[in-house]
């Protein structure tokens, strides 16, 4: 029997310091952040440039 592993993911959204945007707790109601968001592969590329 053939086993298939599916990898399901959406896009990604990160802050300027490469944290997951969704996990950021704002300090004030009008708090700001830098953002990178888009296709999965494109954001992986952004991450690779921030690791260098």
């Amino acid at each position: 029997m053939k086993v298939l592993t599916l990898f399901v993911a959406g896009g990604q959204a990160l802050t300027s310091d490469m944290r997951r945007m969704m996990e950021v707790v704002p300090e004030s109601i009008h708090d700001r952040s830098g953002i990178f968001m888009g296709s999965y592969d494109e954001i992986e590329k952004v991450k690779s440039f921030h690791k260098k």
Partner: protein
């Protein structure tokens, strides 16, 4: 499901759908005013400025008033944050209200007079157990959002909404019916696409990794094709295109704005939720361990 949980569930969903009705009403009203703005002298400045220090447009003021009125009359919103209001707005008169809403009624309003697409962005939180609706109900991470999305007032009015743990659905406003029709069910963000969207006018202020990244898109290694640039300058419109076609949208923090420019509560977090929930199968592994890219949308275009 026990009878009590089922009653509880029904009550919750009724509450939620009433809130959604009020949201839809505000989108329809804002769309109506935007589309008539030039005819009824609603273009230009209102003569005031908001929290951000932005000059308020007449439509900013109207959009904000419409949104607040809709949330208030829904009776289901306990507390509200608007881009146009310095403080949060509480509705203590609605005892049964269990939701906290953050919104930017007209995002990208500096584009309005030029007829460029603008939008409304919103995020919905549930009040904490026992809370009557305070700032703390909104100072939560995006992972706790119950629902989020945006409406874009473009060539057509498009509503995109996602719920916690769910998919992303897109609706188009049918002006004759006055209803949002489901036209983009289960939206899936393409796995990759050679489009970048960023305000390059700020590149002087960018940090080195950001500069290096965008350089690599424009000057790819030998044999590679450079990316296309698409920047409308209206976050909702740039995000909507990225959602449909793929690519990247960025507004990095830089030396001029070390904290970034976009707002977490009613710009970044709701968009992040939409993007993360636009899930598709991006590859699968068979037992022979061969990776096969099978993102349906991206492969169709390549």
């Amino acid at each position: 499901m026990s009878p009590t949980t089922s009653i509880h569930f029904t009550l919750l969903t009724t509450t939620y759908s009433l809130l959604c009705h009020a949201l839809q009403f505000s989108f329809k009203s804002i769309a109506y005013y935007i589309r008539r703005a030039t005819l009824i002298n609603l273009t230009g400045l209102a003569g005031s400025s908001n929290v951000t220090g932005d000059d308020q447009k007449k439509l900013d003021v109207i959009g904000n008033d419409v949104f607040i009125a809709a949330m208030k009359s829904s009776g289901k919103c306990a507390v509200l944050v608007s881009e146009e209001e310095e403080d949060l707005i509480c509705f203590p008169e609605h005892k049964g209200a269990r939701y906290a809403v953050a919104c930017d009624p007209i995002d990208g309003s500096s584009n309005l007079d030029a007829g460029v697409s603008v939008g409304t962005i919103f995020g919905i939180h549930k009040l904490a157990e026992g809370s009557k609706g305070t700032k703390e109900d909104l100072l939560r991470p995006g992972t706790e959002l119950v629902a989020a999305g945006f409406t874009m007032y473009g060539a057509s009015t498009q509503l995109v909404i996602t719920m916690k743990g769910g998919g992303v659905n897109g609706f188009t406003m049918d002006n004759a019916l006055g209803e949002f029709i489901l036209t983009h069910p289960k939206m899936q963000l393409p796995k990759k696409r050679a489009i970048y969207s960023v305000n390059e006018g700020n590149s002087l202020y960018w940090e080195d990794p950001v500069k290096a990244y965008f350089e690599s898109l424009k000057y790819p290694q030998e044999g590679g094709k450079p990316y296309s640039a698409r920047y409308i300058g209206s976050m909702v419109a740039d995000a909507y295109r990225t959602l449909l076609y793929g690519g990247i949208f960025a507004y990095p923090a830089d030396k001029k704005s070390p904290k970034g420019k976009l707002r977490i509560l009613y710009e970044c977090a709701p968009m992040a939720m939409v993007f993360e929930n636009g899930k598709s199968v991006i590859y699968y592994k068979s037992d022979e361990s061969t990776d096969i890219v099978c993102s349906r949308r991206s492969s169709a275009h390549e």
